[in-house]
């Protein structure tokens, strides 16, 4: 056996060893050195290279046993380490370190942006609160877009589009002479973040917004981001409680600092940090949103079916109050979310299973319930008149209803084996445009349509 062949065998052994999660690069290197020492000793004693290799490998012990011993010594390695790259000195680690720096800069920019208006007399606690409500999404989301634009190395054209859309958002938020307690102001404060989040999506997909796959990635990202943001928020809540409590113990009132600095700046920074965490752990940890979906889809399906049964059993009509639409809008959002994140984790080629039937039952019962609500409400809506709030709630309901109705139809074809699952995914990713169009309509057109009320 030639030297080349021996090297080939050692390379194979190394590749095989590398597959063990318990063994890190440096461990494999150390073991390889050992293997080579053993081989050269045996060949010096007169063995042929291939014989020496076999004996050396055999004496090293079985890889299973070795991994087990390493695992016992380094049990932490079985827990995937997320934030700190486990093995420094690799190109990936250098890159993630640079990413960390850019992320920290973007997060700091987001946090500072929150306080920047204070320099121009917009006091968060005082009469600036309306200003902050209008512009809430304009502090952190541009910084987040910058982070993604940097990370994805987007083209100048895409940067131009992003800048333009954020500028439009800023103008829309501030240019209209909206009354402080007008409905349009609140609607704008709710819908602008949605519109701008989809703008962030353009940066997230690196400008490739026509690609279905990339859009689906953005949907996955949104779910994970939300979960991380909530988790950071919980941690932040604990931090704030301790800040307030400990300072009160020494007679200092930290509440103003918390409400003026810690909470708003922390929330803005958390937007960027959560996004970075999602990106960093993408391939490391299982996505959480699909896991939650798996848990809650059957529960929601059961609840909705029980609700339907209760309506039929008691023949109680739905009590149509003025705000009833909103809760059913939110219900549709939840059902849509459950559908989306089930899709996001699904193997598109898998055959329909029990879970798909539960999912279908969930969507159909949500549709029936919403149809009942809409039936009950149509008579009353003319009576109430089309205020901005009512129009927005109704519009959203119709948009979600359309989405779910067509989804249910596609789902049914899939479950009966008549259409591939990919069509459902395609439908959902295409539909993102509708959300964007609607959010921008509410922000830009509603104040004009409803005379700034």
């Amino acid at each position: 056996m030639s030297v080349d062949e021996l090297e080939g065998q050692i390379a194979e052994w190394r590749a095989y060893t590398h597959r063990r999660r318990e063994l890190h690069n440096t461990d494999v290197e150390e073991l390889e050195d050992h293997l080579r020492s053993r081989i050269s000793e045996l060949t010096e004693a007169g063995l042929r290279a291939d014989e020496a290799f076999l004996i050396a490998v055999k004496r090293m012990g079985s890889l299973d046993e070795l991994s087990r011993e390493f695992a016992r010594e380094h049990s932490e390695r079985l827990w995937k380490q997320l934030v700190l790259p486990a093995e420094p000195d690799t190109p990936a680690a250098t890159r993630s370190r640079r990413e960390l720096i850019v992320m920290v800069l973007c997060a700091a920019a987001a946090a500072l942006a929150v306080k920047a208006p204070a320099l121009f007399g917009q006091d968060m606690a005082g009469d600036g609160d309306v200003f902050y409500a209008r512009n809430a999404s304009l502090f952190a989301l541009p910084a987040l877009s910058v982070y993604f634009a940097w990370q994805r190395r987007v083209s100048p054209r895409v940067i131009g589009v992003l800048a333009l859309l954020f500028a439009v958002g800023a103008v829309a938020a501030n240019a209209y002479p909206l009354d402080e307690d007008s409905q349009s102001l609140i609607l704008s404060a709710i819908h602008l973040p949605l519109a701008l989040w989809l703008v962030v999506g353009i940066a997230y997909v690196g400008g490739d917004w026509r690609s279905d796959r990339r859009r689906m990635d953005f949907i996955r990202f949104t779910g994970e981001w939300l979960i991380y943001f909530v988790l950071i928020g919980l941690g932040g809540g604990v931090l704030m409680a301790f800040t307030a409590g400990t300072f009160r113990a020494i007679g200092l009132n930290a509440e103003e600092f918390i409400s003026q600095w810690l909470l708003p700046c922390g929330a803005a920074a958390a937007v960027v940090v959560a996004a970075w965490l999602v990106e960093a752990k993408q391939s490391v940890i299982e996505n959480m949103a699909p896991v939650l979906t798996r848990v809650f889809t059957p529960l929601f399906a059961a609840t909705l079916l029980a609700f339907l049964v209760a309506i039929i059993w008691t023949t109680n009509g739905i009590d149509v109050e003025r705000d009833v639409l909103i809760i059913f809008d939110l219900l549709l959002v939840v059902v849509l979310g459950l559908l989306l994140y089930a899709i996001s984790a699904r193997d598109l080629t898998a055959r329909p299973g029990l879970f798909d039937h539960v999912q279908l039952a969930l969507v159909v019962s949500a549709l029936i319930i919403d149809a009942l609500v809409l039936l009950a409400i149509t008579g009353r809506i003319t009576e109430w008149g089309f205020s901005p709030n009512k129009t927005a709630a109704l519009g959203e309901n119709l948009i979600l209803l359309t989405n779910l109705a067509w989804s249910a139809w596609l789902f049914l074809s899939f479950v009966r084996g008549r259409a591939p699952f990919a069509r459902l995914e395609h439908w959902q990713t295409r539909y993102l445009v509708v959300y964007a169009a609607w959010a921008w309509t509410v922000v830009l057109a509603f104040p004009l349509i409803f005379n700034f009320t």
Partner: protein
Amino acid sequence: MYITKDLVAASATPLVLGILAEGENYGYAILKQVNELSGGELEWTDGLLYPLLHRLERLGHVVSAWQTPPGERRRKYYRITDQGLAELAEQRRQWATVVDALRGVWNAAQSVKPIPAPAWEAGR
């Protein structure tokens, strides 16, 4: 000669620490030295030395560093620490006690041996 797994495991730490007490060394050379010291009787599975070395490092008994001696491959060398030396002394004390006790037992056993078989067995 076969030596039981437990005995090998129990003696591994003092052996490795003892070898490292003579100067820093790397895995393969440590193993060879164990082999020589035991006259080839003490056989370890080669790979299992490394988890042991890592454990000693985690406990602070040894420290490690990658070095490239001139004309050789890059290797991870282990060096014993003061804490490791203290541990070695402690292990030595314990082993001495065990060995003394065992020696006592062997001697006693030797004096027991010559007892003649009971008379009722003698006739067979």
